[in-house]
Symmetry: C2
Subunit: 361 residues, 2 copies
């Protein structure tokens, strides 16, 4: 339904990005990289949650040494996040990093960038040109209209300068990000960039904040771009457990129909019509369906749990499995057909039974 | 920055919708309408959270009687949600409802709609044509591409049929919603409708599900439309406390820069570079800034709390108030200028002090 922008394709380890590849999910570790035990443990949790590419901060030579050890103990590709010191990129490449992220805001000298390009080319790994609002702009309060436009151009121009440099050195194994801490300039920067190159784009709203507010900013920014067909890999930034970033990323991709990661739960907000504890039923079912503490098999099902006769029967009928409640019982549906009447108290059990036995076409 | 679609303007009680009016926030009660005490108490909580228009389910004549009592005890306009029985709309109008919502999916006879139109016109109140996927479509599993297009047209056609009827009866005090339980057809339906009429649009993704997933679907659906300039009032549907719907709505409007409701918190996701407990600092600060349990004055400030020297100083400098941490201390910024170095342990206190004394231009 959504026509995706045509891009080149790059490979990060075994993961393809761009030109028809599924939009991949990234995250980043939040423990000290030299603490290999904790770093690996966090990456294992991210892998289990569905993270497909993971990035680590590389701020010292010791961090580059850690890359060798970490990489052997994880399954997904490892990206080295480099700032300020191009020599760390050279060391990270030598240590086996699957991708390098460079920040045009803090590694500016052509000869330094050229040295990294040369090493990446030799190693056959891609480089992300990762621009962030905090690294490229100065004193542009983000709530001011004119200055927001300045912010957008600052992001795009920083990326374009780097792209030109990379192309001059005949390197096109590039992926680009233009993350702003505000949603509007993030969306505008990616839109502008999507028209000016065919490199795949890594989407994200940077420093989006704590979980509840960050998820709103990330959903709008990443979601609006994906709906326009823009974006090849995504990272949700939250001041929270990185596993939450992966879960949110899966929810965004599911919501726009780009990928499916198990059941999609449709449930009404309830209102004065609702005669059962729908919120309680939904809470219990959602916990059982949770991708983190998974208690049920993962199937790409749509499950509707609806509280009354207004939209209930319609949504329940359209879903793969559904229940539409009336006074204290509900009508159970499967594949559009009524199965039977069930009491509200047995709803979760009955739904779980159906989900477990449902055979996806 | 976002050019808003030009619409007619309608009035719901004292709230204007459309043609330049601020995008307003709606919610709906989730207790039995005849239980006037609980209904009023829930509306008071919604008012305190920032809800600007509230809807109640009207399913019996007793519910319409409750309207008279409820309306006297609340400050915001009251909308009667009517399904199946047009006579309930007539009674709700007589009882003083500030707006009626009709569902084209379950009140279909022209003479019935005409009777409601006549009463609304006499009372001088608007009507929302509220279409929902659960009421108009049958057996169109929402994950199937072709059927999603069918769903979009079903929503739009149901609304257009009603609009034609209303215009035939010379009634244009209309607002329209086309809520689907999937994001893509919601966005497409509103886009299509926005090109076919100049009535204001009430945005929402219906039955978006429990909090965590629902907030993602609602943010993408409502956010993507608002970014296109479409939408004049919004309702976030969550299977959760309705106060959460209002908080989420405020977050969506803030994120796209449509309105401001107090501070916007920018904070980095942290990574291996971060040397302080940034998540803890942000959690404590976010609680103090929370619009629900507000402990601090509401000011439209951007506050950046950043964990390292990469994007920290940039974001902190651009924010109204910011702190960029290093090893165990942080640099405090106000209006782009460095104030002083502070220890991480005092960060929340120092930020709170600055927020309290900050004078907004």
């Amino acid at each position: 339904m959504i026509k995706r922008r045509k891009t080149r394709q790059i490979r990060v380890g075994g993961v393809r990005i761009g030109r028809g590849a599924p939009v991949s999910i990234q995250s980043m570790t939040k423990v000290e990289t030299v603490d290999v035990g904790r770093t690996v443990a966090q990456i294992k949790r991210l892998e289990d949650a569905g993270c497909e590419i993971v990035r680590i901060a590389v701020k010292t030579p010791a961090d580059t040494d850690a890359i060798r050890v970490i990489r052997k103990r994880i399954k997904i590709p490892l990206v080295a996040d480099i700032h300020f010191y191009y020599r760390l990129a050279l060391r990270a490449i030598a240590a086996g990093a699957d991708k390098i992220r460079l920040n045009p805001g803090n590694i500016r000298k052509e000869e330094e960038v050229a040295a990294v390009i040369k090493a990446a080319k030799k190693a056959g790994i891609p480089i992300r040109i990762g621009v962030n609002s905090g690294s490229v702009v100065t004193r542009l309060p983000c709530h001011h209209v004119t200055r927001l436009q300045d912010r957008t151009s600052a992001l795009v121009n920083a990326a374009l300068r780097y792209v030109k440099l990379f192309e001059k050195h005949d390197f096109r194994d590039i992926i680009i990000s233009l993350k702003s801490s505000d949603v509007v300039s993030t969306v505008e920067a990616y839109e502008a960039m999507s028209e000016r190159c065919d490199y795949p784009l890594h989407l994200g709203v940077t420093a989006a904040g704590p979980y509840d507010a960050g998820i709103v900013k990330s959903s709008i920014g990443i979601g609006a771009l994906l709906l326009k067909g823009i974006g090849d890999t995504i990272r949700v930034s939250l001041t929270a457990d990185p596993v939450e970033e992966v879960v949110a990323a899966k929810r965004i991709l599911s919501a726009i129909g780009a990928r499916r990661f198990g059941p999609d739960l449709i449930s009404c907000p309830t209102c004065g019509r609702c005669q059962v504890d729908l919120a309680g039923i939904v809470r219990e079912l959602a916990q059982k369906l949770s991708s983190v503490n998974r208690q049920l098999p993962t199937k790409p099902l749509t499950i509707a749990v609806m509280g009354c006769e207004v939209n209930g029967p319609g949504e329940a009928r359209e879903a793969d499995i559904g229940v539409a409640f009336g006074r204290d019982s509900g009508m159970l549906f499967e594949r559009g057909k009524i199965l039977r009447k069930i009491p509200a108290s047995k709803a979760v059990g009955e739904l779980v039974k159906l989900i477990t036995t449902y055979e996806v076409d």
